[in-house]
Amino acid sequence: MSACDDYRSMIPLFLDDELRGNELQDFQTHIMGCPACKELLAEEQALSQLLHRTRPLYQAPEVLRAHVSDIISSEVQSPFHAPERLRQRILRILAFPQRSVARPTLRWGQLAAVGLVTALAVLFVPQMVERARANAFVETAAATHRSYLEGNLPMEIHTSSPPAVTAWFAGKVPFHFQLPESQQPLNGQQIYQLNGSRLVNFRGAYAALTTYEMRGDKISLLVVPDNSARAEGGEAVRSGSLTFHYHVVGDFKVITWSNHGLTYALVSSLPGSAQQSCLVCHQNMADRLKFSSRQ
C-alpha cells in the first residue's frame, strides 16, 4: 500500500471533520504536494457540495409540525401527570351531588387588595421572569462547560482562527455572531488559544459554544440572543459601556454580559475570584484596572 493510498483513505475523514492534530496536518501537507490526491479530494468535495446544496432534503409538512407543536404545548400546560389512582379519586368526588354553596360577595377592601396584588404582579413578574432566565442561562453555561470538560461535547469545528469560527456559525445560529480577534499578545506570547466551536441547544434554539485553552485550563464561551437571556445578577462590574456579572457555580466562575443583542457567558475554573479571572486575559489591556478591584 503506497503513501498515497493511506492519504486517499483519509479523504472522507477530512471532509467529515474527523481528522485531528498531527493526522490533519500530515494530510494537508501531503495533499498540497500531491496533484493526484488533490484531484481525488476535489472529486469528493464536489459530491459533498452537491449534497449540501440540497439541504434540507425534506421539510416536515405543516400539518405534522402543527400536531407536534400541539403535543409539546399540551405537555407544557400539564407537565406533571397525576397518578391514575388520584385521577380515579377525583372522578369519584366529582360524581357526588354537589352541595349548594353560596358564593361569598367580595367587599371593597378585598377588591382593593386584589387590585394591589395585580398591580404589583404586573410590575414585578416581568423582572422575575428576566431574572429566572438570567439564572437559567448561568446554570446552562456551567452545565455545558462541565459536559465539555467531561468530553461529551466534542467541537464540530477545530480551528484557532476567529474568522473561520465566524464563517462556520453563519447561517447555523439564528443570530449574527462574529468572534472578535481582540487578543493582545503578552511579551510576544499568545495568552490563550482558540480551540473550536459547536452548536448547542438553549431554550429550544441553537446557541454558539466556543472553547479556548489557556495554560492547560479550558474555557468556554456560550452565546445566545439577548431575547432568550439577559446578563443579570451576581456581582456586577461596569467596564466602559458594558456591565459584567460575576457568578460562582460550584467549581466554575461564570461571567455574563450582554452586548449588541447577544448575551455571553464565559466559564472557567481559573483560580481566584470570578472577577480576578478576567485579569488573566486582560492583564495586558488598557482596561485591566477595571478588573483588579471592585468598582
Binding site: 472522507p12 467529515d16 452537491l50 446544496r53 434540507p56 421539510q59 405534522l64 404545548s73 441547544n201
Partner: protein
C-alpha cells in the same frame, strides 16, 4: 430546573429538529404517512422521557435514536416489510424546502438537483440511506451516528464509504451536468 424542562416549558422541545427527523423517517419508512406517524410518536416518547435527560445531553442524537427505535419496534410488530410507496409521487405535498434564491433558473436547478438526489437516495439500500442522511444532511459525527445506529464507529465508516460510492454512481448518471462522472472526465482527457 433542567435545560430540558425549560425547553418543554418554552414549548419548543426539539422542534427545530423536525425537518431532519421527518427526512430520516422518510428514509426509513419510504412512506409519507408512516413517516409522519413515526415523527409524531418520536416526540410523544421524547417529551415523556425528557425529564430524565441530563441538561448537557445531545438532544438531537437522542431524538434520532428514539425515532429509529420506535421504527424497529413497529417493524417487529408488523412482522413484514414496509409498504413501499413513491415519496416523489405527489409534488404538491413534496414540501420542497424554501429556496434561498429568487432567480427562477436557480430555483429550477435547485429543485431539479434536490429531486434527483432524493431519487438517488431512494435507490440506495436502507443501511446506506440512513448512514448518509445522518452524516451529509444532519451533520452527526461518526460517534453520534454509531450511537443512533447502535453499531461500532468502524461500521459507520465502512457503510458511509459504500453509500458514497453508490450515490456517486447514481448521481453522475442522473445529474451529468452538475455532477460529471469522474471516470467520464478521465476518459475525455
Amino acid at each position: 430546573m433542567s435545560l430540558n424542562q425549560h425547553a418543554i416549558q418554552e414549548g419548543s422541545a426539539g422542534i427545530e429538529h423536525i425537518d431532519g427527523l421527518y427526512g430520516y423517517a422518510l428514509v426509513l419508512t419510504q412512506n409519507r404517512t408512516d413517516a409522519e406517524d413515526l415523527v409524531q410518536e418520536t416526540y410523544v416518547r421524547a417529551i415523556r422521557a425528557m425529564g430524565r435527560l441530563r441538561p448537557d445531553s445531545n438532544v438531537k442524537g437522542w431524538l434520532f435514536t428514539i425515532l429509529r427505535n420506535v421504527w424497529l419496534n413497529e417493524l417487529r410488530q408488523r412482522r413484514r416489510a414496509p409498504e413501499v410507496l413513491d415519496v416523489e409521487a405527489d409534488e404538491r405535498t413534496a414540501n420542497l424546502a424554501d429556496e434561498t434564491t429568487t432567480d427562477p433558473h436557480d430555483v429550477y436547478v435547485g429543485k431539479l438537483e434536490r429531486r434527483h438526489v432524493r431519487l438517488a437516495i431512494q435507490q440506495l439500500p436502507e443501511e446506506a440511506r440512513e448512514v448518509i442522511l445522518l452524516r451529509e444532511w444532519e451533520e452527526l459525527s461518526y460517534q453520534e451516528i454509531a450511537t443512533v445506529l447502535d453499531c461500532p464507529v468502524g461500521t459507520v465508516m465502512s457503510r458511509l464509504a459504500r453509500a458514497r460510492s453508490k450515490l456517486r454512481d447514481l448521481l453522475c448518471s442522473l445529474l451529468p451536468n452538475s455532477y460529471p462522472c469522474p471516470e467520464r472526465k478521465v476518459a475525455a482527457e
